[in-house]
C-alpha cells in the first residue's frame, strides 16, 4: 500500500471549558490514503468534528502527532496551518458557509484567486452541475444548490484532501443524495482523498472505509468490499 497522505499518531485533544477538562479525542491513531473515500460515523460528542478539525489544520492536538505527507501539523503555528489549508484542503460544512455578498461563481473565485493551479470557477460549477446558477447570490439559491456551490468552492483548488462535516445534515433526502453524488464524482474524477462526517449510517455504504467513533476513540474501522453508488443509498 502507498504511503498515507494524512497520518495521526496517538493524538489526544483536551478542551478546557471553565474548570472542566473535556477529552474530545483519546489517543487516536489513523492513516488516510490518496484517493480514498472515508465515512466517519458516530453520535454527537464522539469526537468526529474534532478529528476533522485536526486533519484539516483548523486546530492542533494536545498530544500526539498529525502529519501531512512529511509536514507536521501538530506544532505548525498559524501561518503554517493557513498555508496548508490554502494549498491542500477543501472544506464543506453543514451550513454551507457561503459569502452572502458574492455570487456562486464569485464564491468559487474567492478560492481560485489564491490557489496555485485551480480549476476555473466555471469548471468547478460544472462539476457540481450549477453552471446555469453561476450569477446567483446565495439568497437566490436553494439549500442543496448552496451546498453544491460550497463543494465547488472546496474542490476548485484541486485539493489533496476534501473534508466534509455533515454535508447533508441540513438537506432533505433527494437533495442530500444529489450532494453525495457530487462528492462521489469529485472523488472519482479528481482522485481527491475525501472524508465525510455523518450521523447517517446509511451513507456508510458509499465509503472505501467506514470509521466508527465513540467517546473520543475509534471503535471500529470497516472496509467495504464494494462501494455503493450514492444513487442507491436509502434513508
Amino acid at each position: 500500500m502507498a504511503e498515507p497522505v494524512l497520518r495521526m499518531k496517538d493524538v489526544s485533544k483536551v478542551y478546557r471549558v471553565g474548570d472542566v477538562e473535556v477529552v474530545a479525542l483519546h489517543e487516536v491513531s489513523l492513516d488516510l490514503h490518496a484517493g480514498e473515500f472515508i465515512v466517519l460515523l458516530g453520535p454527537s460528542g464522539s469526537g468526529k468534528s474534532t478529528l476533522l478539525n485536526l486533519l484539516g489544520g483548523l486546530d492542533v492536538p494536545t498530544t500526539g502527532e498529525v502529519d501531512y505527507l512529511d509536514h507536521s501539523l501538530s506544532d505548525g503555528g498559524d501561518e503554517n496551518l493557513t498555508r496548508f489549508r490554502r494549498e491542500h484542503v477543501g472544506f464543506v460544512f453543514q451550513f454551507y458557509n457561503l459569502i452572502p455578498s458574492l455570487t456562486a461563481e464569485e464564491n468559487v473565485a474567492l478560492v481560485t484567486d489564491i490557489a496555485r493551479s485551480p480549476l476555473s470557477p466555471r469548471e468547478a460549477l460544472a462539476l457540481v452541475g450549477l453552471t446555469e446558477r453561476a450569477d446567483h447570490f446565495p439568497a437566490q439559491l436553494s439549500g442543496g444548490e448552496q451546498q453544491r456551490v460550497a463543494i465547488a468552492r472546496a474542490v476548485a483548488k484541486r485539493p489533496d484532501v476534501l473534508l466534509c462535516d455533515e454535508p447533508t445534515g441540513a438537506l432533505d433526502v433527494v437533495t442530500g443524495r444529489l450532494v453525495l453524488e457530487v462528492l462521489e464524482r469529485v472523488n472519482r474524477e479528481l482522485g481527491t482523498l475525501t472524508a465525510v462526517i455523518t450521523h447517517n449510517a446509511s451513507i456508510a455504504g458509499m465509503g472505501d472505509r467506514v470509521i466508527r467513533m465513540s467517546s473520543g476513540r475509534i471503535v471500529d474501522i470497516a472496509t467495504n468490499a464494494r462501494r455503493l453508488p450514492a444513487s442507491e443509498l436509502e434513508w
Partner: protein
C-alpha cells in the same frame, strides 16, 4: 436580598459583553452633555450676571461726552422727551505712574456717581471704602487695574492731572457696569496693567480741570418706550454748542458691546456643539442596538415563547440605551460643571462684574440628562420596535442570508476589474446606503470640527501677526494730551533712546452716508510712513491718497458705501467741522471702525494747522528704561502704548482661553472619530465573523481577512476625509461669519497644514480603532466562530 429580574440581569450582561461599544457611545454622549452643560451654564451665568448687575447698579442707556457745559445745561437735557434720568459727570484721561511699572499707564478718572440721588452707573465696592466727599487725593481703583498692578487700599499712585503731578491714595477697589470690560484707547485686548479706571470725588476733580459748576460727560436713562435715535439726536442738538462729541447708546458702548457679543457667541456655541455630538451618539446607539437585536433573534423568540410581551422586550433594549446614555450624561454633567467653573474663571480675568449663580445648575443638569435620554431614545427606538415585532417562530430560525445584488459600480462594467474580495467590500457598503452615508458623515464631522478649531486658531494668530508685524511696526505709540504743533514732534525726536519718530493725527469722527451714521476714528498718517501703514488683510499696503480717505471694510459695510462715494465727516472735537470727503478705497482690514487719510489732509479738514496727536516711536532697546521714566514725567504726554506689551497680553489671553477650548474640541473630535470607526468595525466583525472565519478556513491569512473587514472602514474613512475637509471649510466660513462682531472680523485662514493635520488626526484615530478590532480578529477562535451561527 433583592434580586434583579432575569431580563435586567441580561441587560447588564449584554452591556458588559459589548463594553467597548458601550464606552464609545457613552463617551460621545458625554461629550455632548459636557458641552451642553458647560456652555449653557456659562451662558446663563454671564447673561444673568450681566442683567442683574445692570439692573442693580442702574447701567445707563445712553452716553455723551463734551468739552464743557455749565451745570444748568443738564436741565435742558432732562427736558428732552424720553429721558427718564440723567447724571452729569466729569471724566478725564490722565497719565499714571504706577509703582513697579516702567512705562506710564493711562487712566480714565471719572467723578463718583451721586448715590444719594439714585445715580446711574452706581459703583460696587469690592473692598476698602469710597473716597470721602470733598477729598482731593482719594481714589477708588477699578478692580481690573488694581488686580493687574497689585494695588491695595492704602497704596499711592501718581497722576499727571491737567499738567500737574498729583499723588492719589487708593482707598478702595470697585467695579462699575460701565467698565466690565475695559479697553484703553488704541488697545485690541485689555491691558489692565497699563489702563485703568479711577473714581474720585467730583469737586476735587472738577477743580483740577477747571470744570467747577460744569460737566464734560453725561449718562442717561431712557424712559420705557422712548426711541433711542430720537433722544440721541436731541442730546446732540443740546450739547453741540458745548463741544458735544456725539451721543451714543449701549450698542456703541465698548464694555457692553464686547460683553454682549461674547454672550451671543457663547449662546450659539451652546446650541451647535451639543447637537453635533448627540446626533453622532444617537447614530452609534442605533447601529449597536440594531445589530444586537439581529444577533439575539433566537433569544427574542425564546422570550416570546416564554410569554414576554413585545412591549417588555422593546423596553429591555431601550433600557440598554438608557443605561448607556445615563452613563454618558453622568460623565458629561460631572465634567461639564467643573469645566463651566473653569471657563467662568477665565471670563473673570477679562470681564469684571459679580458672577451670580444663575440658580439653574439643577435645571441645566436635568435638561442635559433629558437630552442624553432623548438622543438615546432616538437611536434605540427603531431597534426596540424591531425586536417587539419579530414573530416568535421566525425569530427562532436562523436569519436567511442577506440579499445582495450587483451595484451600480459593477453595472458600469467595472465588474471584471474587481476581485471577489473587492466585490464583497463594495456590495457590503452598498447594501446599507444610509448607514454608509451616516458613517461617512460622522468621519467628515470629526475632520470638520478639527479643521474649524484649527482655522479659528490660525485666524486669530493671523490677525495678530498682521496687526503686530505688518500694520504696527513701532515700539511705542506716544499720545499727547491734546494736539500740538511740530515742536512737540521735535521733542519726541530728541528724547534719549528714540531712534525714529513719525507724527500722527488721531481724531474721533462720526461718518454719515445718507441716513446711516457711525462713530469711528480718523487716522492722519504720514504718506511715506514706515511704522504705521494701511494694509489689506492679505498684506498689500495701500498708499495714502493726497485727497480723500481710505475706509475699513467693516465701516464701509455699516454705512453701505463703496469706493468713489462721498461721505460726510463730522469731527467730534475742536471746532467740530463737517466736511464732505470722497472715499478713495476700501481697506480689507479686519479690525474696527477706522478711516485713514494723510496727516496733511487731516489737518486741512480740521483747519487746525500743522498739528499732531502723538508720535510712533522706534527706540533703542538699551535705552528703554530711562525713556519710559522720562515719558512718565512729561505732562503733555497722555500715555504710551507698547506694541510688545500688547502682543504679550494677547498671547496670554489666547493661551489661557482659546488654548483650552481647542484642546477640549480636539479631544471631542477624537472621541467622535474613534467611536465611529471602532463601533463600525466591531459591528462589521460581529455581523460577518462567520464569513471571516470561513475565509480563514478556506486559507485566507489573518492579514487578508482583516484587510477585507477593515477595508470597509478604510473606504468609509477615506471618503469621509475629503468630505470632512469640505465640510470643515464650510463650518469655518460659517463660524467666521458668525463670530465676526461689530468690532472686528474673524479672518478666514485655511492652511494646507490644517487640512492635512485634521485628516491625519482622524485617520490616526481610525487606524487606532481599526487596530483594536484587528486584535480581536486575530484572537478569534475559528472553530467557535464557525459554530456561532447567531
Amino acid at each position: 436580598m433583592v434580586r434583579l429580574a432575569a431580563l435586567d440581569l441580561k441587560m447588564f450582561r449584554d452591556a458588559w459583553h459589548l463594553r467597548g461599544q458601550v464606552i464609545a457611545c457613552a463617551l460621545v454622549v458625554a461629550g455632548g452633555i459636557n458641552s451642553f452643560v458647560s456652555l449653557s451654564s456659562v451662558n446663563r451665568t454671564l447673561a444673568a450676571s450681566q442683567a442683574a448687575f445692570y439692573e442693580d447698579n442702574r447701567f445707563a442707556d445712553a452716553f455723551a461726552s463734551l468739552v464743557r457745559a455749565p451745570e444748568p445745561v443738564a436741565r435742558s437735557l432732562e427736558a428732552i422727551p424720553g429721558i427718564a434720568a440723567l447724571e452729569t459727570r466729569v471724566a478725564v484721561r490722565v497719565n499714571l505712574d504706577v509703582p513697579g511699572l516702567a512705562e506710564p499707564a493711562r487712566g480714565l478718572v471719572v467723578s463718583m456717581p451721586v448715590e444719594a440721588a439714585g445715580g446711574l452707573n452706581a459703583l460696587h465696592l469690592v473692598r476698602g471704602r469710597l473716597p470721602v466727599p470733598g477729598s482731593a487725593d482719594e481714589a477708588l481703583a477699578s478692580e481690573a487695574f488694581a488686580k493687574a498692578n497689585a494695588l491695595e487700599p492704602g497704596d499711592t499712585i501718581r497722576a499727571v492731572m491737567n499738567g500737574r503731578y498729583q499723588r492719589l491714595r487708593v482707598v478702595g477697589v470697585g467695579i462699575s457696569p460701565e467698565y466690565i470690560y475695559a479697553l484703553g484707547p488704541g488697545q485690541l485686548v485689555p491691558d489692565n496693567r497699563r489702563f485703568g479706571i479711577l473714581w474720585m470725588d467730583r469737586k476735587a476733580l472738577a477743580a483740577a480741570y477747571d470744570l467747577d459748576g460744569a460737566f464734560n460727560d453725561v449718562a442717561v436713562r431712557l424712559a420705557p418706550g422712548a426711541s433711542p435715535a430720537t433722544v440721541l439726536g436731541e442730546m446732540d442738538r443740546v450739547l453741540a454748542p458745548y463741544g458735544g462729541a456725539g451721543a451714543y447708546d449701549r450698542e456703541d458702548q465698548l464694555s457692553h458691546r464686547f460683553l454682549s457679543d461674547e454672550i451671543a457667541q457663547n449662546r450659539t456655541m451652546a446650541r451647535i456643539t451639543p447637537s453635533i455630538f448627540l446626533a453622532v451618539g444617537a447614530f452609534l446607539l442605533y447601529t449597536v442596538l440594531t445589530r444586537l437585536v439581529q444577533m439575539q433573534r433566537s433569544q427574542v423568540g425564546l422570550l416570546k415563547a416564554f410569554g414576554y410581551s413585545g412591549a417588555r422586550i422593546a423596553f429591555h433594549y431601550l433600557q440598554l440605551a438608557l443605561v448607556i446614555s445615563l452613563v454618558g450624561a453622568a460623565l458629561g454633567v460631572g465634567t461639564g460643571l467643573p469645566f463651566a467653573g473653569h471657563m467662568l474663571a477665565l471670563y473673570a480675568e477679562y470681564y469684571f462684574f459679580p458672577m451670580r449663580d444663575h440658580g439653574a445648575v439643577l435645571p441645566v443638569g436635568a435638561v442635559g440628562v433629558g437630552l442624553a435620554v432623548l438622543s438615546a431614545a432616538l437611536g434605540a427606538v427603531p431597534a426596540a420596535l424591531k425586536a417587539a415585532r419579530l414573530p416568535p417562530a421566525e425569530s427562532m430560525r436562523p436569519e436567511p442570508p442577506p440579499r445582495f445584488h450587483s451595484g451600480v459600480v459593477e453595472r458600469w462594467g467595472l465588474r471584471r476589474a474587481l476581485s471577489p474580495a473587492m466585490r464583497m467590500l463594495v456590495r457590503n457598503l452598498a447594501r446599507r446606503p444610509l448607514r454608509l452615508a451616516a458613517s461617512v458623515t460622522g468621519i467628515a464631522v470629526a475632520v470638520a470640527l478639527l479643521v474649524m478649531m484649527t482655522a479659528m486658531m490660525d485666524g486669530i494668530r493671523h490677525l495678530m501677526q498682521w496687526q503686530f508685524s505688518v500694520v504696527q511696526r513701532e515700539d511705542i505709540q506716544a499720545l499727547l494730551v491734546e494736539p500740538r504743533g511740530n515742536r512737540a514732534f521735535h521733542a519726541f525726536q530728541s528724547l534719549g533712546g528714540v531712534v525714529q519718530a513719525e507724527p500722527f493725527r488721531l481724531v474721533a469722527v462720526k461718518l454719515r452716508a445718507g441716513h446711516r451714521t457711525k462713530r469711528g476714528v480718523l487716522y492722519g498718517l504720514e504718506p511715506d510712513g514706515q511704522m504705521r501703514r494701511v494694509v489689506d488683510g492679505d498684506g498689500t499696503p495701500w498708499a495714502l491718497p493726497p485727497e480723500g480717505l481710505l475706509l475699513t471694510a467693516i465701516f464701509a459695510d455699516t454705512l453701505g458705501v463703496r469706493a468713489g462715494d462721498r461721505l460726510e465727516v463730522e469731527v467730534l472735537e475742536g471746532a467740530r467741522p463737517r466736511k464732505s470727503v470722497p472715499i478713495v478705497g476700501i481697506v480689507d482690514e479686519p479690525i474696527g471702525y477706522a478711516a485713514y487719510v494723510s496727516r496733511a489732509y487731516a489737518n486741512r479738514l480740521l483747519g487746525e494747522g500743522d498739528v499732531l496727536s502723538g508720535a510712533y516711536l522706534r527706540i533703542d532697546d538699551d535705552a528703554r528704561e530711562p525713556l519710559m521714566a522720562r515719558l512718565k514725567t512729561l505732562p503733555q504726554v497722555a500715555g504710551a502704548n507698547l506694541r510688545e506689551a500688547a502682543r504679550q497680553q494677547f498671547d496670554a489671553m489666547i493661551e489661557r482661553s482659546v488654548g483650552i477650548m481647542i484642546a477640549v474640541n480636539l479631544l471631542f473630535a477624537w472621541i467622535i472619530a474613534f467611536g465611529l470607526v471602532y463601533n463600525g468595525a466591531r459591528i462589521a466583525l460581529s455581523e460577518r465573523g462567520y464569513e471571516l472565519a470561513t475565509l480563514r478556513v478556506l486559507g485566507f491569512t489573518q492579514r487578508e481577512a482583516a484587510s477585507l473587514l477593515l477595508g470597509e472602514q478604510g473606504v468609509i474613512t477615506a471618503v469621509g476625509l475629503p468630505f470632512g475637509m469640505a465640510l470643515g471649510i464650510g463650518f469655518t466660513l460659517y463660524f467666521v461669519w458668525m463670530l465676526s462682531t461689530q468690532m472686528w472680523r474673524m479672518p478666514y485662514v485655511m492652511t494646507g497644514a490644517n487640512l492635512v493635520g485634521a485628516m491625519g488626526a482622524v485617520a490616526a484615530a481610525a487606524a487606532a480603532s481599526g487596530a483594536a478590532v484587528a486584535w480581536r480578529l486575530r484572537h478569534m477562535d475559528l472553530v467557535e466562530a464557525l459554530k456561532a451561527r447567531e
